[in-house]
Structures are given as structure tokens and as C-alpha cells.
Symmetry: C3
Subunit: 471 residues, 3 copies
């Protein structure tokens, strides 16, 4: 059909005007950025807030660990908890990030992006935001070990340990699971070409890695003087400050609202918002249920409600839900968390029987519950994760459970092997443990020439320090 010229004109002008109108319409609608840009900005904002909360967990670990150990070692333990994040920040900037997220060599290790030199693509969350979120996770893995090795580890040895775990041991595990190209998971929506290991926020990747290193370190160090009597019977060495321990636990609980929801990595869509909200709820319920599980177990077993066990129950519940928080429903999160409670109590007993001294219960909380939580995904996952499968109780059969088992074992072997090598190397060179005399006197005097509470404890007031600052 041939159009009359008048119609053509009408059409042409209509088209032109339409274009103008759409332009105008856009102008009205878009005095600001596009929605794509806003989504990027919102996700960046989300990652930074979450990272700040996770950073604050450093304070939580410091207070918890200091509170659960003796005042003669408080300066030392605070110092270590500070320095592990310091060492981690530098190590993860220089090398760790590149190993974790650089171009993959066969799914085993990243090979570029060292010294934080990646190219940022327009239209994406800035790499700097991702690095910031990941460095605080690395710091969490590193700091867990401070508790298990407390009250007897040399300060310099600890500096080296925390540098190496953040530089190499932990980033390799991240690459295997979270890089998008790892042999344990490729985030491809299927298990093709990978093992389909699923760990949403790091029950294994972060907590078990820290937990395995804790176990190895505590075994190589040996127990604190007096922890087991001449008859081999365990003796209680109470921590010096339950207020700090409780504060630390509350801070950690708070930080977990960055740790787990933040691991969705994005919030700027309905699906992401739904996921983040679910994660906040399952995280909170598992923490509460973990407290109840530990409270009742310890109460029944020892006759009294025990605050220390219950605080560790909270943390055990949090560690346990970390792997599956985005894949399970609230009821399942309560079950997973509740079971974490007795796991904390009985694991601590088992460690005692094995004469392994873990002053703050890092192994029960982070290792054993890290494993439990990771396997629990294979049981309770009702939402299929990034490998497309659900757990045993939700029709997925044993596939996911087996994947989880493979990941737990592989990461366990890696961490035990590298941590053992590292700790033995430190032991053989600068030494891992302080002298008996220093341990008796306290590491604060021995390592730092001061005490944490000169006014309150009546101890010598740090007169040995020839420092410039008046403290």
C-alpha cells in the first residue's frame, strides 16, 4: 500500500513528535541516573554496610577471646586480635584477593589482580567494594585462631601465622568455592564440571578453615600449663571477664547480619531483597535456637545454666546456619541452630578427653559447627542454590549431601596440611610457644612489659615500659 504524502507527513511528524515525547518522558522520569545505575549504587551501598558490620566482628572476637581468658594475658590477646586483621588487610591486598578471585588456573588458584589492580567495568559494582567485603571475610577466618591458641603463643609467631593464612591458605579455598571458576563450584546453576559444593556465606570456607587451623595450632602448641592436672584430669581455667565475653557475642551476632545477608552480594531487585530478608531471619533464628540448645544441654549435664556454653551456643548456631541461610526455611534454621547447641557442648568435652586445649571453644564453634552447617544444607535445602539441587528432606536425594561432604573433606585436608606445615615451620624457626616462666607470669608482662588492668588487679603498673606515651 502506497501512502499519500499527507499521511506520510502526518506519520513522519507523529514519529518525530513521539520521539520527542519519549525523550521528554525520559527526561521527566530520569532527572537522575538510570535504574541500572541505581541498582549498581544500591548494591555497592549494601556491600559496604555489610562489610562494615563484618569488620566489627573483629571487635567481637577480641572482646570474646579476651573475656574468656585470664587477665594476665589480656593485652596480648587484644593485640593479636588487632594484628590479625592488620596483617590480613595487607596480605589480602597484595596477594590474597588475586589468588581468590584472579583468573583461574584450572579451578585451583587465581593468578592475577595482585596489589588490587583489576580493571573496573562500567555498570558493575566497583571491584573496590567487592574487595572490601571480601577482606573482612578473610579477617574473620584469620582471627578465629587467636582464641584456640590463646595464652601461650608467641606474638611474632602469631603475626606470621595471620599473614600466611590471609595471603594463601584461605584465598585458595575461596577460589575453589566462590570464584565462579573453582573446581568445587562454578556458580553455573548445575554441577557440570564442578562438584556442586554449596556454602552460601562460609560455614566451611570461612569458619571451618579458621576452625581447622585452630585445631592444628592448638594440637601443635599443646595445652596451657595447669589445664590438665598431674593426674591428667582437666581443670577449669575461667576467663577473666564475662561482661566482655557477652559483649563480644552480641557484637558477633550483630556482625552476622552483615556476614550472611551481605553474602547475597546484591539487594537491588525483588529476588535479591527476598533472599536477603530470608537470610536475616534464618540467621537470627539459628542463633536463638543455638543458645537454647546449648543452654539446655549444659543445664541437664552440669546442673546449672552456663553462660559461657550458651554464648558459644549462639555462635555455634550462627556458624551452622551460615552455609544454608539462603536455602532453608525458618523452621529448618531453628532445627539446624538448635542442634548446634549440643554440638558445642559435646565437642568441647571430646576435646578435653583428647587433651586438646582450646581456651575459648573455637573448634566446637567454628570447626564442628562449620561442618554440621555445611552438611545440613544437604539435608534441609528447600530452595535450590546455585547448583540447582535441594537437600535430602526436600526431594533432592543424596546428591547435595555428597557434594557437601566432598567439599568439607577437601577443604579440611587442604587446611590441615597447609596449617600444619606452617605451624611446624614456625615452631622450627622462631618458635611457636612462649617459655614456661613467661606463661606463668602472663604474656602481657613477658611479651609487652605491661598489664591490662594496673589499677584494678594490683599487678605491677607496667613500669618496665620505657615508652613515650604515658600509659
Amino acid at each position: 500500500m502506497k501512502l499519500a504524502w499527507r499521511t506520510k507527513i502526518g506519520l513522519g511528524l507523529g514519529f518525530g513528535l513521539g520521539l520527542w515525547l519519549v525523550g521528554t518522558g525520559r527526561a521527566f522520569a530520569q532527572e537522575g541516573p538510570t535504574t541500572a545505575e541505581l541498582a549498581v549504587a544500591m548494591n555497592t551501598f549494601f556491600l559496604i554496610v555489610a562489610a562494615a558490620l563484618v569488620f566489627f566482628m573483629q571487635a567481637g572476637f577480641a572482646m570474646l577471646t579476651a573475656g574468656l581468658t585470664r587477665s594476665k594475658n589480656t593485652t596480648n590477646i587484644l593485640f593479636k586480635n588487632l594484628m590479625d586483621f592488620v596483617m590480613c588487610s595487607i596480605a589480602f591486598w597484595a596477594v590474597g584477593w588475586g589468588i581468590a578471585y584472579g583468573t583461574s588456573a584450572g579451578g585451583f588458584i587465581g593468578t592475577d589482580q595482585f596489589f588490587l589492580s583489576p580493571v573496573t567495568a562500567e555498570g558493575e559494582v566497583p571491584v573496590m567494594a567487592s574487595w572490601f567485603f571480601q577482606v573482612v571475610f578473610a579477617g574473620t577466618a584469620a582471627t578465629i585462631v587467636a582464641g584456640a591458641m590463646a595464652e601461650r603463643t608467641k606474638f611474632a609467631a602469631y603475626l606470621i601465622y595471620s599473614f600466611i593464612i590471609s595471603l594463601f591458605i584461605y584465598p585458595v579455598v575461596v577460589h575453589w568455592v566462590w570464584s565462579g571458576a573453582g573446581w568445587l563450584n562454578t556458580y553455573s546453576g548445575s554441577t557440570e564440571g564442578n562438584w556442586g559444593f554449596t556454602d552460601f556465606a562460609g560455614s566451611t570456607v570461612v569458619h571451618s578453615v579458621g576452625g581447622w587451623a585452630s585445631l592444628v595450632g592448638a594440637m601443635i602448641l599443646g595445652p596451657r600449663l595447669g589445664r590438665f592436672g598431674p593426674d591428667g584430669k582437666p581443670r577449669v581455667i575461667p576467663g577473666h571477664n564475662m561482661s566482655l565475653a557477652a559483649l563480644g557475642t552480641f557484637i558477633l551476632w550483630l556482625g552476622w547480619f552483615g556476614f550472611n545477608p551481605g553474602s547475597q552480594l546484591a539487594i537491588a531487585s525483588q529476588a535479591n531483597a527476598d533472599a536477603v530478608a530470608l537470610v536475616a531471619v534464618t540467621t537470627n533464628l539459628a542463633a536463638a535456637a543455638g543458645a537454647l540448645g546449648a543452654l539446655f544441654t549444659a543445664w541437664l549435664r552440669y546442673g546449672k545454666p552456663d553462660l559461657g556454653q550458651t554464648l558459644n551456643g549462639v555462635l555455634g548456631g550462627l556458624v551452622a546456619i551460615t552455609a544454608g541461610c539462603a536455602y532453608v526455611d525458618p523452621l529448618s534454621s531453628i532445627i539446624i541452630g538448635f542442634i548446634a547447641g549440643p554440638i558445642v557442648v559435646f565437642s568441647a568435652e571430646l576435646l578435653e578427653k583428647l587433651k586438646i586445649d582450646d581456651p575459648v571453644g573455637a573448634v566446637p564453634v567454628h570447626l564442628v559447627n562449620g561442618i554440621w552447617g555445611t552438611l545440613a544444607v544437604g539435608l534441609f535445602a528447600s530452595v535450590p542454590g546455585n547448583t540447582g539441587t535441594t537437600g535430602l528432606f526436600y526431594g533432592g536425594g543424596l546428591t547435595l549431601l555428597i557434594s557437601q561432604f566432598v567439599g568439607v573433606v577437601a577443604i579440611g585436608l587442604w587446611t590441615v596440611a597447609t596449617a600444619a606445615l606452617m605451624f611446624f615451620a614456625i615452631k622450627a624457626t622462631i618458635g611457636l610457644r612462649v617459655s614456661k616462666a613467661e606463661e606463668e607470669a602472663g604474656l602481657d608482662i613477658g611479651e609487652h612489659g605491661m598489664v591490662a588492668y594496673p589499677d584494678l588487679s594490683g599487678a605491677p603498673a607496667g613500669g618496665e615500659v620505657s615508652g613515650a606515651l604515658a600509659r
Copy 2:
């Protein structure tokens, strides 16, 4: 008018092209999600951040309460402050949320959505996010009571109390005021079919409920041994750690920036952003003014500036502004907050005269200032709230003040009646108060077989504990 076919064609094609252009325009504008979806995501993000801050108030209450009581009861008070949020999380998941926000039975109680089983509609903030925000409010109401009943309440009794208040007593009040279908308020923009009771973030709904339960609990328990001498004169029982008390207050002040601004429930529009920003400012100014009011009152009355009174002045100012923070201007918030200061001081004196022992001042802070702040809305509201009325000083007459009075009385009666029933039932069964011997020795030894500061206080180091963990 009949159009020529040529014109029709021009028209038709113009229409078609226009449609295509608009489609294209949308495609350019919307490489990401729609703005509606972004708004939902931003509001979800906002609620979760606010909820995390409110959660952290649990740490604030724990530190404040522990700091203002004696070290022989510190483990116990920390333990209770932990467990009330644990019990609350489970109770509010199972039943509390449903009573608060389920389908209304006549405006009095919700009847479904138990065990967190609601249907989520697309295009809205996820119910999980709303639950998370509400559960931390429930936890706040619950934890207030720990302070008033400190240093003499049985641990098991406290567990039961905190479960019941979160399961039933508090959620019913929420339903009355915040469910959108309550008899005190229906959020309909008018007072038709409801009383128009206005409480933006919970001066009454949260703080007075906790405060009434505190008052009833403290009265039924009776004062601590030695709080009043044989002559009936009050004796000061100083708290053991002002650093913890100050830290707790700072944390609570911080948490209030989630509590009050978060209660707008949304931020993703100009109006919401304006409201949230106003709320942050009025909240901060009222806290500062409350500190000044209490400082000057106590200074004039007792001759010295008193830190404890001033900390409670901060909290009193925060409680008082909570009801009206979105409806008053900055100057009014300063007046409301400043008056909260003397209210804290004089209420504490009145309690002493009545021989009611409230170790941390929970009743002056949360009950009396909760009432003051709620009534103050009826005086100072310059922005009409969800019932369309302003306060007495802004041309609204007595309508709103009367509404506020009705709400205060109704919620007071409900809470006193149910709390009294609950506490008497606990007293008659498992018992509410520890033995005199246990109270003298401290609840830490009596209830938990340990002390909070074995190194620092020279007390026995928890040797009675046959626990597995070395603490």
C-alpha cells in the same frame, strides 16, 4: 467527525510507532529493574539495617544493666539479657507475629500467620524483612524488665517471663496500635472506627509495656536486701562498672537511630526520606536535651553532676521522643527531651518513697517517660500523623491529647493486668525470687556456680563448675 482513511493510517502508524518508541524508551531507561522494584529493595535494605541497629540495643541493655548492678550478679544479668532476646525470637516466630499482624479479630488480636507462614505478595517489602524489624522491637520490650528485676529474680522464672511477654502480652498491644486494624488505630488517616491513638515508634507500645511490666515485677518481687535500712531509709547500692553503663548508653543511643527512623518503614520516596531525616534529628536532639535536663536537675538537687542520672536522662529523652519523633519539629523535640530529664530524677525519688526497688531506673526511663512522650504528641505534634490531627499547641485542640490518654490508660491496664497475673503465677509455682542466702552471695554463684571477674575481684574462680569448657 469522520476521519479520512489516510489520516486513520497516519494515526494508526503513529500510534504503533509511539508504542514502539515508548518500549524502546523504557528499554533504555530500564536496563535494570523498575523503579518500583528498586523502591521495594531499598525499603527492604532500610528495614534490615534499622533492625540490625535495634538488635544491637540488646547489647546496650546488657552493658547498661550489668554496669549499674553489682559484680556478684553480673553473669546472671548478662545471661538474662541474652536469653530474653533468645526466648523472644522463638516466641515471636511461633505466635507473637501472628497475634500482632495476623488477620484481626475485632481489632483486638491477630489470628493467623503463626510460625511465620504468611504469603508474600510480589512488589512488596518481603514479610521476612518486616518480621525481622518487628522481632527486635519485641526484644526491646522484653529486655527492659531485666533491669528492674535485677539482682534477685530466679533465672528460670525470668526465662518464662520473657517468653510470655513476647508471645502474648506485647503482640496484643502491637495489634491494637500498629496492625492497621487495631481498635486504637487503623492507619486510615482519620479516627473513624478507631481511637486515633498515635505512637510512631513505641513510647507506649514498646517502652511503657516494658516499663509497666518492670513496675509490676519490681513490686511483686520486693526490694533487694539492704536497699532500705531497718529504719526504712533508702541506701545507695552502686553499680559495679560505670564504663559498661556508659558504653551501654552509647549503644542504645546508636540503636535508637534504627528504632525511630526505621519506624517510618520506608525511605524510597522524597516524603519518606524527609520523614526519616527529621526523625533522626528529633531523636538526637531529644537525647541530648534529656541529658541536660537530668544533669542540671540532679546537680541542683544533689550538689554534684551525676553520671548515672545523666545516662538515664539520655535514655529518658530517647523514650520520650519515640512516640512523636516524626510529628514534631526540632525545637519541640528539645523541649520534650529536656523535660524527660527531671522526670527521670523525680520519678526515681518517688519510687524510693514508695519503697519500690528498681536497680537501674527502668520505670523512670521507660514507663514514666513513655507516658510523657506519648502525651507530648497530643501537645507538640505539628505534622498530622496517620490520624490526621495535630496537637494542642498546633491548633489541633484536645482531640489528639485525649486519644493519647485513652491509649496510655488502655495499654497500661492491659499490661499491668497480664503482667501481674503472669508474675503471681510464676511466684506461686516455681517461685520468682532467689533465697536470701543466694542473694547475699550473689546470683552468679547461686544460679551459675561461677563469678564474672575471677581474676579481678579475688572471688572464687568458679571451681564448682564441672563444665567442659575451660572458663
Copy 3:
């Protein structure tokens, strides 16, 4: 060209339909607010979250300062750290904001917007949000001084000081640099009509102002009794609680993730998100590097790793990166932060030699590193800031370095002059320093009639207080 009526009709209807379609298109695309509105909301949200984190720095300063001083003065120091933000909130509401951001008189001082009475324009971040973000900065400047003047300053004198600095001294400096109309910077993208002084988040504007006031205050006050022996040799006066000091430092580090990233003032675009993410990273790396720099310097110099010096190294690194965090790359941030470490150590030694007593190291951390960080912008800035120039090492020549020098000197002169006038006026009227007897006994007893830790320190339990509250 004259159009036929048919064509006109086609055109007209096409136009009308186009309009309708665009309307519809907008309706589909915009079931929510516009992207401009969302951007405003997101920026408001961002400012409020950042401000809440910065507010929390008040708790950090309180814990740090209390921890690094003696327990006999703990109540007093906590009280001062609380009250300086209280006084600041009122002063900055009444006058401070107007001086900082009101209509400029010649680039020197703002002249309106007192009592928070500005007109809010639609389509912008609410003034209330900006005020909230700015008041917590003012509070930071004010609270720095508490540490340097600790353990000997009268409480009433401190109240007056903190009111005046927030009312006048600090806001004038803000006007000079951040108002957009100041003589040191106009944010015009060039140095035309201003000095091009560049201070992104306040190394000079906030920290040096607090630091200069600290120096002047400490000099006018004189050293604490016993700080220098009869032979003039310095004596170490250790702080009472390293756990509080470490907690305070962690809280400050956390708060800095609001302080520096928040100073971008917006996040809702790709450029803003990129900048905010970069700032988070440079801030964190400088803190870590500062810790390392101080650790190694003190270790080499005094033979032991020193926790107090290292905590101040963290803070020194944070202060130093504050001016340039948005303009330097990660490697530069590590260099800037690392150098801050030895600066802390050697500045403290210098103060000792000059017989200036700064109990917590406020001058080394905030003043000297504030200056260092501000000058470092003139060396390391690779991203041109709002005056369009880069630093010496990035091809910008000496221009920026000279600008920085001018700003440092001008603000230093202003602050020293006004602070000296203020402190001398206070000294001449109500007095600045407590009596010797009071200083010996501790300011807690002298000023407040109580002690901070009655249970733990064995000190008198505050029996002098005739207060109503039982503490």
C-alpha cells in the same frame, strides 16, 4: 509549508496519543517513584547510615580515653565524653550549622539558618539529613580534646569548652572549607577565587581542629601531678583498662567507615559508588598500615611490641588518610598510613621532651597526623579533587601542596588563637584545673562523689552520693 487538515488531524491525534503513550509508558516504568527521587532517597539513607556510624565514634572515644587513663578518673572521663556530644548537639542546632552552612559573609562565616530553620527544596537530600551528618562531625572535633585534657580538667570548664568549640570555633573552619563559598575552597572545580585547599573528610577540618585545641588546652593546663618527676624525667602513668582501649579503637575504625565514605555525601550514581568504594578501601588500608608503622617503630625503639602505640597507629593512619581518601590509590593509602605510625611514636616523644602532658596521645594522632595527611594530598593525589589539581607525585606540581600548606596554617592559627582565648577566659573565671587534693584523690570522688568500679577496686562505694537512684 501549509499542512492539509487531514494531516493536521493525524498530527494532532498522533501527538495526543503519543502523550498518552508516554504517560502510560511512565506509568508502567514508574509504578514507584522516579529515579531522581530514588537517588535522593538513597543518598539520604546513605547519609543517615554514615552519620549513625560516626555517632558511634563517640562511644569509641569514650572507651579509648577511659581505657588509657586511671580508674580513679573513669567516671569523669566518661561523663565528659558523653557531655561533649550533648553540648555539641545543642550548640550545632542553635548556631553552629548556620555559621558553617548559612549564607556566606565574604567566605568567612555563615549568617543564617540558625536554630535549624532552613528551607528544604524538593528534589534534594533533606537538610535534616545533612545536619545529622554534620553534627556528628562537629561532635568528633569536640570530643578529641577530652583525652588530651584528661585527669585534671574541671567538669564545668569542660562543658563550656565543648559548647564553644561546637558553636563557633569548628563551624567557622567548616565554612571556610566545606560550605561551597569559603575562602579556602569553593567547590567550583578550580582555584579561582579560593585557595584550593582540599580536605575530603576532615584531616584538618575535624582532626587538626580538635588536635590544636588539645595542644593548647594541655599546655595551658600543665601536666598531671607526677607525670614528670622532680628531676624533670617523664614517668609512665599507665591506663587502667586495655580492653576498653582496644574496644574503643575498633569502634573508631568502624565509625571511620561512616566518616570517610560518608563524606562523598552521595552514593546514588556510578561515579559516587565508585568513589565511596575506593574510600572504604583506602581508609581500611591506611588504618592497617598505620598499625604496622607504629608497631615496628615502637618495637625497634623500645624493644617490645606496644599495644597502646599500635592502637594510636591505627588511629593515626585513619586520621592521615581522611583528607585524601578519595583522591589516592590503594598503594598510596598504605604509604600514607604507614608513615602515620612513626609520626605517632615520635610526636609523643617530642611532647614529652616539651613537658606537655597528653594522656592519650590526642596530639600525635589528631594534630600531627591531621597535618601529615592534609599535606600528603599535595603529594599523592592522583584523582583531581574538587579544585581540579593532582599532587606532586602525579604531575600536579607544587600547586596543591602549597594550597594544603596554606589551609593547614590558616586553620591552625585560627584554632590556636580562639582556643587559647577560650581556655584563658575559662581559667580566669571559673577555673580550668581541679585542686591538687582532688587530682590526687581522683576526679570521680572530687567532681562526682562516686567511683567507677566500687566492687572491683575496693574504693569507697560512692556513699557520699545522696542520689535517688540506687547506684
